[in-house]
C-alpha cells in the first residue's frame, strides 16, 4: 500500500472521528470563556447519545419515522441545554465548586443514560442512523473529496460551526459579554452586564452542543447505543479547550490532531503492523497530555477568572 493511500485512509477516518470532540469542545469553550468549566460535559454527551438513539428507535414503527433522526438530535440538544441549566443553578447561583459539581453531573448523566437504556431497550440494537451525503461536484475532487466532502450532515455542520463560533465570540455583543464575564466579572458588572445571566446562557449553549455531540456518536458514528459509547470524550473535549487556547480554530486543530492519532492507531491495526495494540490505543491520550504539558502559556488571552464563582459583595 502506498504512503499516499495510507494517509488518505487515515484522514478519511479522522474527519468523522473529530466531529463529536469538535462539537463538545466548541460548546465547552463558551462555558469556559464565561468562566465556568463544566467537567460534566461527558455526562451530558452520554444523555445526548442516549436520546439521540432512543427517539428514532422508538419512532421506528410509527408513520413519522422519517423525522426520527431529526427529532433525536433536537431531543439531545434539549436535554443538554437542560443539564447545562442544572449545572448553572449549582455553580452560578449556589456557587458550588465547579470541579466537584462537574464530576457529579458526569456521573449523573452516565448512570442515568445507562439505566434508562437498560429499562427501555436492553440488548444491543442498532438504528439506521444518518447517512453520508456526498456533496455533488466537490466530493469528486481527488483526495480532498473523500476526506472532506463525503460525510453526513452533522459533520459539515460541525466544521461550519468553527467559523460561526468564532464570529459569535468575537463579533457579536453576546460574545463580548461572555468574554468579559469569564475574565473580569466585576468589570462586566460595573458596566451593567448581568454576570449570572450570561453564565447561564453560556452553560445552556455549551450543554446543547455537548448533547448534540453525544447524539452524533450514537446516530452517525456507532449507529447504536451502549454505556461506554462516549468513553471519556467529554473529558478530552475539556482538555481540547485548554489545548486550543480558547479559540475555535485552535480547538479544531486539537480535535483533528487527536482524531488523526486515533485513526492512525486503528489503521495500524488494520494494516497488521506489528506493534502492541494497547500502546497504539494510548497514543492519542498520551499526545494530549504531552501537548498540554508543553504548550506555551498565553496568560493574557484566556479567561483568567475561570473556575471562580462571582459574588458581587465579596470584599476580596
Amino acid at each position: 500500500m502506498s504512503a499516499g493511500l495510507m494517509l488518505y485512509n487515515v484522514l478519511c477516518l479522522a474527519v468523522p472521528f473529530s466531529v463529536a470532540l469538535l462539537l463538545a469542545a466548541l460548546g465547552e469553550n463558551f462555558n469556559q470563556r464565561a468562566g465556568v468549566f463544566n467537567l460534566g460535559c461527558d455526562g451530558i454527551m452520554c444523555m445526548g447519545a442516549f436520546l439521540g438513539f432512543m427517539v428514532p428507535f422508538a419512532m421506528k414503527a410509527t408513520p413519522w419515522a422519517a423525522y426520527g433522526n431529526f427529532l433525536g438530535l433536537g431531543a439531545a440538544m434539549a436535554v443538554g441545554a437542560a443539564m447545562g441549566i442544572v449545572f448553572a443553578l449549582v455553580t452560578v447561583t449556589f456557587r458550588a465548586s465547579q470541579g466537584i459539581a462537574g464530576i457529579g453531573l458526569q456521573m449523573l448523566g452516565w448512570g442515568l443514560a445507562g439505566t434508562l437504556f437498560r429499562h427501555f431497550v436492553g440488548g444491543v440494537t442498532g438504528v439506521e442512523g444518518m447517512a453520508a451525503i456526498a456533496i455533488p461536484g466537490l466530493s469528486k475532487i481527488p483526495f480532498l473529496g473523500g476526506v472532506l466532502f463525503n460525510h453526513n450532515a452533522l459533520t459539515y455542520t460541525a466544521l461550519l460551526l468553527v467559523p460561526a463560533c468564532w464570529f459569535l465570540l468575537y463579533k457579536t455583543p453576546w460574545g463580548l459579554k461572555v468574554r468579559a464575564v469569564g475574565t473580569h466579572p466585576r468589570a462586566a458588572d460595573t458596566m451593567g452586564i448581568r454576570v449570572d445571566l450570561i453564565r447561564y446562557q453560556a452553560l445552556m449553549l455549551g450543554g446543547a452542543m455537548a448533547g448534540l455531540a453525544g447524539a452524533y456518536l450514537s446516530l452517525c458514528q456507532a449507529k447504536m447505543f451502549s454505556d461506554d459509547l462516549v468513553a471519556g470524550r467529554g473529558f478530552i473535549a475539556v482538555a481540547l479547550v485548554y489545548f486550543g487556547r480558547w479559540s475555535p480554530l485552535g480547538i479544531l486543530g486539537g480535535a483533528l490532531l487527536f482524531s488523526i492519532a486515533q485513526s492512525f492507531q486503528l489503521s495500524m491495526q488494520v494494516w497488521g503492523i506489528k506493534f502492541p495494540y494497547e500502546f497504539a490505543v494510548m497514543l492519542p491520550y498520551v499526545l494530549v497530555i504531552v501537548v498540554l504539558a508543553l504548550a506555551r502559556k498565553a496568560r493574557q488571552l484566556g479567561p483568567t477568572d475561570l473556575g471562580k464563582p462571582y459574588n458581587r459583595e465579596m470584599r476580596f
Binding site: 475574565t183 466585576r186 458588572d189 451593567g192 470584599r315
Partner: protein, 525 residues
Amino acid sequence: MTALEPISELKLEGITKRFPGVLACDDISLQVRRGEVLALVGENGAGKTTLMNIIMGLYQPDSGTISVNGEPVHFRAPGDAYARGIGMVHQHFMLVPNMTVAENLALGLKELHHFMNLDIKGAAKRIREVSERYELPVNPDAYIWQLSVGEQQRVELVKTLCLGARLLILDEPTSALTPQETDDLIERLQRMASELAIIFISHKLNEVKALSNRVSILRHGAVVFNGQTANHESSELAALMTGHDVVLPRNEGSGPQGEPLLSVRNLCVRGDRGNLVLDGFNLELRAGEILGMAGVSGNGQREFADALAGLRPVESGQMLFEDKDLANRTPREIIQAGMGYVPEDRQTEGIVPSFSVKDNLILKDFAEPRFSKMAFLRRKAIDSNAEMLKERFDIRCPSTSTATGSLSGGNIQKVILAREISREPKALVAVYPTRGIDMGAQEFIHEQLLARRREGVGILLISEELEEVMNLSDRIAVIYKGKILKVLPAVEATRERLGILMAGLADPDSPGDAPVATQAGVAHE
C-alpha cells in the same frame, strides 16, 4: 448616552452599611455639585470605597437616601447610576485585560449592541471624540494588557466619560501610578474639573491640596470633618484623618557607619520576557544604614528584589552577604543567612491571604522548635507569639484568627513587617513598603525602619516616593535601566537632583560625570 438632565448635584443623607462584624458606613451625609472637586480622605478601611460602591449601586445601603438634583434615586446596579450621569473609576481597574479599549467601552454601550452585530467602530469613534475633547490620548485598538498602568488609568477615565458620566468618582486614582504619571493625571483632572463634578478619594494630602475645593474626612465609617481645602493645612488634615498629630519621622543622620554587609557585584538578571533587566549592577549596603533606592518603577527594582530573595535566577555576578555568595541560593538559605524581605506585592507574596494573622506571622518559622514539636504545631506558642506581635506592631484586626487578606493594606503590611522584624534579621529589604498605605500606618512603618537602623540592621529601601527615600535614607542610590547611576549621601539629595537622575540624565551637580560611565556603588566614596 445622555442623562435625563445634566447632573448638577448629588446628595447623600444618613447612609449606613454593615458588613458582618464591621460597621463600614455610619450615618454618612455628603454633597457635591457641578464644577466642584470634593476630596474624600480617610485611612485604609475608613469606609470610603464602600460608600462609593453604594453610590454606584454595587452595594445596597442598610439605610439612608441618595438624591440626584434633589430627586431621590435608588440604584440597583452600576447601569442605573450611569443612567443618571454618575460614573466611577475604581482603584483596581475595571478593564478586561484580554479585550481592546474599544471592546471594553462597547460592553457598556447598549446602543452599539445590534442583533449578531457589534458596532465596534462606533465605540472607537466615541473614544476618539471624548479623548480629544478632554485631552486624554487613548488608542481604541490597543489591548488593555499591553498598556502601562498610567495608560490604563486614562482608558478608565475615557470609558467613564464615554458612558455619559458627568460626576466622576475617582477611587485612589494615583495609588498605582509613578510620580510622573500622578502629576500628569492631577493636571488633566484640574482641566476637566470645570465642567464636571468630581469626588476624589485619596489619602495623599498633597494631591488633595492640589486638586480639591472641598474636603470631607472619614474615620471609622463616619464623617468627622467637612471644610474648604484652601483653609486648612495638610498637617491639620492628617491629624483629623488619623485622630492624632502626624509627624513623619526623619533619619537624623550620624550614628556609626557599620561594616559592609551586602555587596552586589556585576549582577546580571533576566526579566520575565528573557531580556537582561539588570546588567552589571553594583551596590553596597552597610550595617546600621538605610540605603534608599530611588527610581521610576520598571527599571529593574522588582528583578533585583526577586534575585535578592532567591525568587529569580541570577545570570552572573555575586551577591556577597557577610562574604557568603547568595546568588542562586534557595529562599530558605537566604532567609537563614539573616535576610529579611518585605515584598512589593503584599497580597500575593507577603502573606497567604486566606491564612489567619497568627499563621502568617510564623510563615518563615513554623519549623522552628519554638513553634513545632515532632511535626505538630505548637498552637499555644503560636497564639502567644501572635498576641505579642499584634500588641507590639499595633496590628488592628478583630482577632489574630481573622483571615489576613480581609485586613486593610496598612495592617497587612504591619503583619509582614512584624514577621520580618521579629526574626531579627541582619539586613532587611523593603520594597515599596508604604505604597497605597495611609498616613498613620506609614508613620508607624517609618518609625520601625528607623528603629531597626539604630539597632544596626542594614536596610535597603526600594521606593518611588521621593519624600520617603529622602526622609529615611543615609545614602540614596538611583537606579536607571538596570544599573545604579549614582549613589549620593542623603544630605546632598534634592527632589530636583533625584528627578533628573531618575530620568537617566547626567547629574547636574557634578559636571563631567557621564552617567553610563559611573561605576556606581564603588565610586561613591
